[in-house]
Amino acid sequence: MKYLTLAAGLLMAGGAMADTPVLTVYTYDSFVSEWGPGPAVEKAFEATCDCDLQFVGTGDGAALLARLKLEGARTKADVVLGLDTNLTADAAATGLFAPHGQAPKFDLPVAWNDPLFLPYDWGYFAFVYDKTKMKTVPGSLAELAASDAKIVIEDPRSSTPGLGLLMWVKMVKGDGAKALWTDLADNIVTVTKGWSEAYGMFLGGEADMVLSYTTSPAYHLIAEKDDSKAAAAFSDGHYMQIEVAGKIASSKHPELADKFLSFMESDAFQSIIPTTNWMYPAITPAGGLPKGFETLITPAKSLILPADEAAKLRDPALAEWLSALSK
């Protein structure tokens, strides 16, 4: 009975709002959560658009793409937000996305000229550690593999950071990637399904370091007033994650979708990102970054594979990873 009432309520609510256009944005779950950027973004955009912005959350970036493929051309999404450069080649191949036709000036360490996808935030993968517990901190992937530091990493098959590390090692080591993984095997305490498990294990004292982002210490500093966490700077450079959004070609509200994408690059959206998604905004807002971000490390080199190359390297790199760590 409860659900009948609920369903009736939903139908009525739908009827009442039929005259306001609804913009549906598919994104990953942590974006829509109460503690993510979603609620603030929704409020800010609805104040300017005379529309109803509805987020639909599903798993993470890869689950989002899988969902989109399942729905195909019948998708209700107008905008998809939350893919990263490891997924964009695959996403473009679906043919579901339309060119964004915008050319904002990004504050990214690398040039950006993808016609289908616009970045909204970015970050560097890094190993995060506790300064009060770890005295000698490795300065490169090779040093990490040679050290006796214990690390927790995420599985590339089920997690975006896990895939990021796979690409990081492949880009730095090339053909030597498998050898590095073999050397790393004794450092790896375990491999988890997702970031949350790994980070939870690290905070619980299960490992000295965890694969996360250079921006992770900012959360502890700003939200918890705890400056004990830091990211280890690697001389190899750090692999980047650039998170992007794109417009669905079959959208019934193409102008509204365009409006959302340009809103996404505005200060109103970009200033929400640093302390909710804990990433760097794609365009630094006029007010600058929140206090505390200046304490984060700046990698010597920014590494990222072009989308098509990342897609091509993915399967061989995974095979190397599996065979090195399955022994």
């Binding site: 959560s33 899988a66 399942l70 214990k150 590339p156 089920s158 790896i188 375990t190 294990m201 760590l325």
Partner: protein
Amino acid sequence: MAERAFKVSHLAGAASAALLLALSFGTLGAVVWRAEAGQALGPADWAAIRFTLLQASLSAALSVALAVPVARALARRNFPGRALLLTLLGAPFILPVIVAVLGLLAVFGRSGVLAIALGWLGLPPVQIYGLHGVVLGHVFFNLPLATRLILQAWLEIPAERFRLAASLGAGPGDIQRLLEWPMLRAVVPGAFLVIFLISMTSFAVALTLGGGPRGTTVELAIYQAFRFDFDLGHAALLAVVQFTLAGAAALVAFWVAVPGAIGAGLDRRVERWDSRTGALRAQDLAVLVAVTLFLALPLVMIAWRGAAGFVALPLGVYEAALRSVGVALVSAAICLVMSLSMALMIAQLRGRGAGRVIEGLGYVTIAASPLVIGTGLFIVIFPLADPVALALPITALVNAATSLPFALRVLVPAVQQVEAAHGRLADVLGMTGWARLRLFLIPRLRRPIGFSAGLAAALSMGDLGVIALFADPGSATLPLALYRLMAAYRMDQAAGAALLLLGLSLMLFWLFDRGGRIDADA
């Protein structure tokens, strides 16, 4: 005996079985229908299949082997706090995986309680990651369930048998041989099968405690095929493999199981005269203390870590909790209607092939991959309605189907026993249909019904289920809110939410289970 078949209509039972079929094989069919031809099984898949079989067999064998002495101790001892202990020991089974793993690591991990204690003694910490870690994790999850299933059977040995045994001067050894062994022979294969199936579909526990890709199970391979390769055909193929393994295991279990021939009693309170010796008392005490420590320590750690975050829980978490309680109650009701109607049907078709088939169907949802169910439902619903708007009802339904096998496990033997013991009397009195159910069966089945409903409600509380595939911002359940807190770095609040979840699940379980045991002895 034609009239016996119409004592209680088969309609509800058949409908429930059909619904189960649709949820398990129907969703798989939907995935197959949507898929292009997928890759055949590769070497990595075979490795995953071997590992899955190995860890699931070990996990089930160890869980059941440990559950027998625990159930025996609980069956022949009565002590203050026994009911509370029974409820608490059920907790690991209903915890979300992520919470249970972090709780286990807080005890057995590299900086866990055990490592600290060993450090004081100058010993190196135990290494938990590996096959033994996977088995440890699965035993932690499933020992309580195995214990409850076996204990239930123990308590169903009629009091008269023990009286007779006592008056004939039978010692513990004789009782074991004559009463307990036949009972175990009937119940243990089923318990083994259930735990084998649960462990088989494990993913996060196997990966995390297995120490990496060595711990790859078939379920993880399905996840990879779906999410990493978007190869639905391959995902469906692996799901078929999982059903085949489950089917083979079920055949073995049914073949090994010998139905109990213990006969009926007068429902009197069981007195045990055989186990009053000091040695047996000490043995039972040791077993109970050991198992309580093993199961309760991780729970204590979860509560300990959650206490700080508990006071600062955001309002949204309580809203999610309320939603979860609603889903759990609906889910328990659906599960009860389905399992009771199926149990009645199975009992009435006893000995016939159809009964066996229906009973087998009751297990398939354990072997079904949650990801395949969710994806299949999505494929079916998407062209017809908005899956997101239906997120909560779908979650309640899928959760009910997930807990149904456990309810069935408890209800089928109970219904069979009641029918065998008092069915003829009810026949003579001409009780059929609703009257038979209301006046005769349900009062006799209060205990298993309460237990099943409690288990279904608690499982539904703790299960992330399909909601993660369908959720919108406004319909998070408590487990989803917990995951969202973790994803937002708020590990302390997530620990608080875990404590809330643990408390609510246990409360729901206790209320139902208690309701079933009111006025009942033991």
